[in-house]
Symmetry: C2
C-alpha cells in the first residue's frame, strides 16, 4: 500500500510541473532549462530534487539531452539516490554512454537493482564486458542470474528486450486463490497486464488477461478461464519479428519462452513500440543513404559512416560519364545536347525513386507478395509509360521551342518515354530481386536504380540525337 | 461465462490452423489459398466455416487480400453471420470499399453492432453520408448515439479512433464493490486495461490499473488507489499527437475527454501502434516523392498522384539546364566538361540527401531543437567539408588522369568541395526553415535541396573551368 499511495501522490504533485516543462512545440522550455542550470551551478540540492525528482523518466531524459555535458554529470551527482536511472533508457546512446562512463560501477550496480530488468539490461548491454562483470558481481544472486540470462541472448532478440519479472500461477488454483496471492505477495512486478499459467517445470500452459480475472467468480479454476498462448515468443526471435507478432495480433504483452517452452520472461507493448519506431527509422535512413547514425555522433564517425555510400555513388556517376563520353563528338557538334541531357536523367531518377519507395515500403510491411506482384509490376509499367508520354509532350515542346528545333523536341520526347519506362521497371524489379536474394532492398536499391536511369537516360537521348541528326 | 469459455476453446482449435496459414516468409500459403478458392467455387459452406471462422481477424484480412475480387464477395456471402467484419479494419482501403459497397446496408448495420465502436467507426467513416445515415438509422438508440458522437469528431483525431465502451465507477466504491460489479455486469467491453473514476456528471477524476485492483484488499476505496490521469486526451487532439503522448509516457490506454473534461471514450495502444506505423510510412513516402498511395490504387489514380512531384522536378531540372546554357560556349570548346559535369551535381545531390534524411527524421522525432540545432549545423558543415576534400582528391585524380589535364583535375576537385559544402548547408538549413514556416519538411525538402546542389554543382564546375582555361 505504501507504494500505491506514493505513486498516486507523485502523480498529483507533478501534474503542474509535468505539463510545464515543455513549450507548445514540445521542446523543453528555455526558462525551465535556465532555472535547472542555475540550480545546478548553485549546487542547490534541495531545489533540484524538488523540481526534478517527480519528472517522468522520459521528461528527465529530455531535460538531460537539453543540458550541457558537465551539467548532466553534475545533475546525476547532486540527485544522488534520487536520480531515476530509467531516464537513461530514453536518451541518445552517445549521451547515455557519456553519463554511465562517468559513474563508478558501485553506483550503477546500486541503480540497476531499482530498475525493471529490461531497463537494466538496456543500460548494461552497452558497457564493455569487464564493467558488466564488475557490476553484476555486486548484485544479489537472483537479480544477477536474471540479468545474465537476458544478456546471454543475442542483441536485438526478444530475450534481450524481455522483462524477467512476471506473475505465474498453477492451473489448478482458483480465481480467489490467485487474487489473494496477488494481494499478499510483495514481490510483484511494478506493472503487469496478464498472468501466466505454468506447470511445475515452468512450462507455459496459457495466460489469463486481468480483466478476465476480475469478471470471473472466485470459485472458478484458472484452467477454466485461461487461453492457450498461441503467440508465445521464442527468446531467440528477432525483435523485429516479435514486433510484427504484436502488430498482427494486437497483443499487449506476450510470454517469452526458452527452447524447452519454459517461461523466461514477458515482452510488453511499450518495448515493441520502440522497436517499431526504430525499424521505420532504419528504413528511412537507409533509403536516404545513411547508416545507423545518431545526432550525437562525432564528426569523424558521421563522415566515416556516410563515405561508403558516396563512394558507390561516385562509381556509378563515373559510369554515367563514360556513357556521355561515347558521344563526345556528337556533343561537340551540338552543344544543346549537353544543356538538355541532365533533364532526361533527372526525371528518370525521380520517377524511379517514387516506384522504388512504394516497393520498398510494401516489402517492409509484407503488402507485396507472389499473389499481387504480377499485377503491381503491370501497374507500374503502365504508369511509367503514361507519365512518360505526359512529360515527353511537355519537355518536347519546351526543348523544341527553346532551341527552335522540331527534331530536338522529338528526340528528347522519345528519350523521356524510354527512360520513364526504364525507371518504372528498375524501380520495381530491383527491390524485388534484392529482397529475393536476401539483401535489404531499402539500403541497396537507390544505387542500382539511379544507375539504370542515368545510363539509360544519357544513352537514349544522346544515341537518338546522334542517329537523328547524323552526328558523331 | 459462456463468452469466456467460447474464447478459450476458439484459441485451442485455431492453434494449428492459425500457425498454418502462412509460409515461412509470412505470406499466405499457396495451398491454403487454393483450398479456400476451391471451397468457395464448390459453395461448400460447412468446410469454409470450419476453416475460416476461427481465423484471427488479421489472418482473415490477409486471406481476403490474397483472394480475387469475386472470391472475396463470395466468401463474405457464404460465411453469412459468421463473417468477422473486424477483418475489414485490417485490409487496404480500396479492397475494403469494394467489399462494403457490394453489401446491402442492412447487413452492414447488423455487422456493425457486433464490433467494438472504434472498428465500427473505422468501417463507417469511408462510406458516403447517405449510406452512413441509412445504416445508423437501423441501429439501437445507444449504439447510434455512440457511433454518431465518434463520427462527429474530425478525421484523424482521437475522437475518431477512440472506443466508446469503457468501465467507469464512482470514487467512493470499494475495491470489493468494483470487482462484484464487474462479475455481474454483462455489458462490459470485450477487453479493458484500466477502469476510470468519474463523478456523477461523467467528469473524469482518475483511473486505476487492473493490476492495482487485483493487489488491493476488498475494503479499500477506489479513491485511495486511483491516480490522477495526467494524460487525458482531448477528443479533438490530432491522432499523431495522441500517439506521441502514448510513446512518451508508455501508456497502454488513455481516457478521451470532451471539452468539459467529461469522459467520452478510451484510446488503446493497438490503435496507436497503427497510427505510429502510418506516420512513419507517410514520412518515407513523402521523402520519396509519393503521396498517400496504396498498392490497390488504380493506374490513373497512381499516375495522377505522382505527376505533381515530377512536374516540380521538371521545373528544377530546366533551371539546372539554364545554368548549363550559360556556359554553352565553354562546353563547345572543351567537351570533357559535358562528360564530367553530372558527377559534381550527382555527388552533391547524394550528400545533401543524406544530411536531409537525418534532419527530417530528427525533426519528426523532435530530436532536434533550439538547444542542439547550432551544434548540428556546425557538425554537418564540417562533415560536408571533410567529405568534400576526400572526394575532391579522388575525382581530381580520376578526371585529371582520364583527360590528361592537371588543370581539369584541379577544377573538378575545387567544384566538388564547393558543392559538398553547399549540399551540407542545404541539407540541414532547408528542412529546418520549412519546419519553422510550418511546412512538412518531409515532402518539400528534396526538391529545394537537389535544386541547390544541381545549380551550385553546374555553376561551380563550369564557371571555374571557364575562368581557369579562359574559355567562353
Amino acid at each position: 500500500m505504501a507504494e500505491v499511495e506514493e505513486e498516486a501522490t507523485a502523480g498529483e504533485e507533478t501534474q503542474q510541473e509535468g505539463a510545464d516543462i515543455y513549450n507548445e512545440e514540445g521542446v523543453v522550455r528555455a526558462s525551465f532549462l535556465a532555472h535547472i542550470g542555475a540550480t545546478i551551478a548553485d549546487r542547490d540540492t534541495i531545489t533540484l530534487k524538488r523540481d526534478v525528482a517527480d519528472l517522468h523518466q522520459s521528461e528527465l531524459g529530455d531535460l538531460l539531452e537539453a543540458l550541457m555535458p558537465d551539467q548532466r554529470r553534475a545533475l546525476v551527482d547532486l540527485m544522488g539516490a534520487d536520480f531515476d536511472f530509467g531516464a537513461l533508457t530514453e536518451i541518445d546512446e552517445a549521451i547515455r554512454m557519456e553519463i554511465v562512463d562517468s559513474l563508478p560501477n558501485e553506483q550503477i550496480a546500486q541503480a540497476v537493482q531499482e530498475l525493471d530488468s529490461d531497463d537494466a539490461v538496456y543500460i548494461l548491454e552497452d558497457l564493455d564486458e569487464e564493467d558488466q562483470e564488475e557490476i553484476l558481481a555486486q548484485l544479489p544472486f537472483t537479480e544477477r542470474i536474471r540479468l545474465r540470462r537476458s544478456l546471454d541472448y543475442p542483441e536485438e532478440t526478444a530475450g534481450r528486450r524481455m522483462q524477467t519479472e512476471f506473475v505465474a500461477v498453477p492451473p489448478f488454483w482458483t480465481i480467489g486463490q490467485t487474487i489473494d496471492y496477488m494481494r499478499e505477495d510483495q514481490n510483484l512486478p511494478d506493472n503487469f497486464y496478464q498472468i501466466f499459467v505454468i506447470d511445475p517445470t515452468f512450462k507455459l500452459l496459457g495466460a489469463v488477461d486481468l480483466d478476465r480475472i476480475l469478471r470471473t467468480k472466485r470459485a472458478v479454476k484458472i484452467e477454466e478461464v485461461m487461453h492457450e498462448t498461441r503467440h508465445a515468443i521464442p527468446a531467440t526471435m528477432d525483435q523485429e519479428e516479435a514486433a510484427r507478432e504484436f502488430e498482427q495480433y494486437d497483443l499487449l504483452s506476450a510470454a517469452v519462452v526458452d527452447e524447452n517452452d519454459r517461461l523466461v520472461g514477458v515482452l510488453t507493448i511499450d518495448d515493441v513500440v520502440d522497436v517499431i519506431q526504430q525499424e521505420a527509422e532504419e528504413d528511412l535512413l537507409r533509403m536516404g543513404g545513411v547508416g545507423d547514425e545518431e545526432l550525437s555522433d562525432t564528426i569523424l564517425a558521421t563522415s566515416r559512416s556516410r563515405t561508403p555510400w558516396l563512394m558507390v555513388n561516385l562509381a556509378t556517376a563515373i559510369l554515367a560519364s563514360l556513357v556521355i563520353g561515347l558521344f563526345d563528338a556528337t556533343i561537340e557538334q551540338m552543344v544543346a545536347l549537353a544543356v538538355l541531357m541532365p533533364i532526361v536523367a533527372s526525371m528518370g531518377g525521380n520517377a524511379a525513386t517514387q516506384t522504388m519507395t512504394v516497393t520498398v515500403r510494401a516489402l517492409a510491411t509484407r503488402d507485396i507478395d507472389i499473389y499481387n506482384a504480377g499485377r503491381i509490376i503491370r501497374r507500374e509499367t503502365v504508369v511509367g509509360i503514361l507519365n512518360g508520354v505526359i512529360f515527353a509532350v511537355v519537355i518536347g515542346v519546351v526543348a523544341g521551342g527553346w532551341f527552335e528545333s522540331f527534331g530536338l523536341g522529338g528526340v528528347i520526347a522519345t528519350a523521356m518515354i524510354i527512360n520513364m519506362l526504364a525507371a518504372a521497371l528498375a524501380g520495381i524489379l530491383i527491390p524485388l530481386l534484392l529482397d529475393r536474394l536476401g539483401a535489404d532492398p531499402a539500403i541497396a536499391s537507390s544505387v542500382f536504380v539511379t544507375t539504370v536511369t542515368d545510363v539509360v537516360g544519357f544513352f537514349a537521348f544522346l544515341g537518338l540525337a546522334s542517329l537523328w541528326f547524323g552526328l558523331g
